[in-house]
Amino acid sequence: MGVYIIKRLISGVITLIVVATMTFFLMFMVPGGPFLAEKALSPQTLQALESKYGLDKPVIVQYFNYMKHLAQGDLGTSLKQRGRDVNDIIRIGFPVSARIGLIAVTISLFFGISLGSMAAVKRGKLTDNIIMVIATAGIAVPSFVVATVLLFSFGVRLNLLPTVGLSTPLHYIMPVIALSLYPTAYISRLMRSSMLDVLGQDYMRTAKAKGLSWFVMLFKHALRNAVLPVVTYLGPLMAYIMTGSFVVERIFNIPGLGSKFISSITDRDYPLIMGTTIFLAFLIIFMNVIVDIVYKLVDPRIKFR
């Protein structure tokens, strides 16, 4: 067990180092350095700036400098927003994104699991068909379509919900729906097929034969086993929510990390792009590690390797 966790953590760290290295060298490939876009810099200023950010040193030295700072959790300074640390920008933007993201994750897990189980229990009935039609359609609609259609119908035409920012709980409704529709649909499909699998198992027949109540059978025996595939989906789910936030935050004008990231790309603010990428990569990679460990913990049938 301990060995497995350590192995998994080490591979996570290696992946992160690979991503950070890739990011660094990709950014280095941008010709002329990050100050090229600045207008009319005198050679002296340019030199001063370059030595300030250590850009006059050889690549390898720069790389190790960057990695050293990274190991200490320092992501550098934003170029376009003078004097602001990337860490600062993340500290302000991330909680906003995280709040929407967590609500969306909770909602998609809740609705996905319950709708999927309902469809499996009512297999072939009308309920099953309706849920599966909605889930199949939900997988095909990209989040930006959901967000814009919501914005148009409820925000603009019916004028029921506020469209910009996050000041009241009402503001959360549309972004959260836009973010959670796809994962809800995906989880309910996943849940339905694994629930059908479990319902056909011998121990379910045994449970029925010994006269267990419908409630205990479903919740104690079926659901706990059927939910396992959903646990493996948690990692991709987090990644989806995070990238989905780029679009949703942009459409609803939410000052989260996603919209910061997209605007840093249009601004070509390289340290901010690098910092945010590495931060998000860190989150996704370690969520995956944690999910893997949790998965092995909750399912004793899986042996540790």
């Binding site: 992946t15 359609a137 990238t243 790309i265």
Partner: protein, 353 residues
């Protein structure tokens, strides 16, 4: 065969009846066959596929969309980048004043079925071109993934042991790399080098028409997305390589490459087709997402994602400009998903779940 007369001289004789030993005729042989006519893998799968109404409807939708994207623009009177002066911001089926005047004069003017955009470009023509881009991205990216993933998975599975372990650890690691982030990063950083390449090296001008965003999408797909395919193919090869015909092939002196190509990959063809088909909608999904953010195809070239993004500004007055690409893209993804599911049920029932 010719002498059918029985030797009936002595009824109790032990002489053997020669006619019993005459080789059987074709008709006699036919009557001994108890098996049905053998159904090949393809026939069997196609029969199951044809019975799946949902998959067939999706196939029809896909064909219609393909026609709409690849053939229809050739006959369509408006080009996707053509800016018609005086016809800016037309509504559905609306004509501009100059066009009305031309119609008065007896000329035939093709209606702007879905109106025009703020630069006077026909929306329908742009959506057709956008669907073409989306479909091309989906198909090319899936082809790249098919090539990389199947070869990698086959090699890992076939050689097994240490090779397999090292190769699959690499796959595990790539699996956890956040793909969208890397695509965004690449499209940002590759922009300058690729543009320079297009400007300086003759014959590389196609880079500008395809767009840096699209090329980085393809690069990332070929770098990262093949791992899912590699895992599936490896799993299949692991069981296939224990089959007797592989041992026979090896005993006959076939090379590793030949065994992988002719004996192993050929037998995973069902899985390969299904996984590739299901990869197409997810590639289209990614492309539209990036184009929506402004990182996909470059300016005059439309993509369904960038059309939707451009429509957001005028959402109050021109909702159809958003709805048309949104519905098209959802329809494409939905029909590919359903068709892929149908293919899986028909050709690869084991993959179900």
């Amino acid at each position: 065969m010719t002498d059918n007369k029985k030797t009936t001289a002595f009824p109790l004789s032990f002489h053997l009846d020669v006619s019993d030993f005459v080789p059987a005729g074709e008709n006699e042989k036919q009557s001994m066959v108890v098996m049905r006519e053998s159904v090949s893998f393809w026939k069997d799968g196609l029969r199951r596929l044809r019975r799946n109404v949902l998959a067939m409807v999706s196939l029809v939708v896909i064909i219609i969309v393909m026609f709409f994207a690849f053939i229809a623009p050739a006959f369509f009177p408006y080009e996707y980048q053509q800016q018609i002066r005086g016809s800016e911001n037309l509504y559905l089926m609306q004509y501009s004043e100059t066009e009305l005047a031309r119609m008065e004069a007896g000329e035939k003017v093709f209606p702007h079925l879905l109106g025009t955009d703020s630069l006077g470009r026909d929306t329908l023509a742009r959506i057709m071109m956008g669907s073409r881009i989306s479909l091309l991205v989906g198909i090319v990216a899936s082809a790249i993934i098919l090539l990389f993933g199947s070869l990698y998975g086959a090699v890992a599975g076939y050689f097994g042991g240490k090779t397999d372990m090292v190769m699959m650890r690499i796959v595990d690691m790539i699996y956890t790399v956040p793909d969208i982030l890397i695509i965004i990063l690449l499209s940002v950083t590759l922009k300058f080098p690729l543009q320079r390449l297009a400007a300086n090296v003759p014959g590389m001008a196609w880079i500008n028409t395809v767009g840096v965003g699209l090329i980085s999408i393809f690069i990332v797909f070929s770098l990262l997305y093949w791992v899912g395919m590699a895992r599936i193919v490896r799993g299949q090869i692991l069981s296939l390589k224990e089959q007797e015909y592989v041992i026979a092939a090896r005993a006959l002196g076939a090379s590793h490459a030949r065994i992988i190509r002719k004996h192993l990959l050929v037998n995973t063809i069902g899985t390969l087709i299904v996984t590739t088909t299901l990869q197409i909608p997810s590639s289209i999904f990614t492309e539209s997402f990036l184009s929506f953010l402004g990182l996909g195809v470059s300016a005059p070239m439309p993509s369904l994602g960038s059309l939707a993004a451009q429509a957001i500004g005028g959402i109050t007055s021109y909702p159809h400009r958003l709805l048309a690409p949104a519905i098209t893209i959802s329809l494409i993804i939905l029909s590919f998903n359903l068709f892929g599911d149908g293919l899986r049920d028909a050709f690869d029932p084991k993959l179900k779940n």
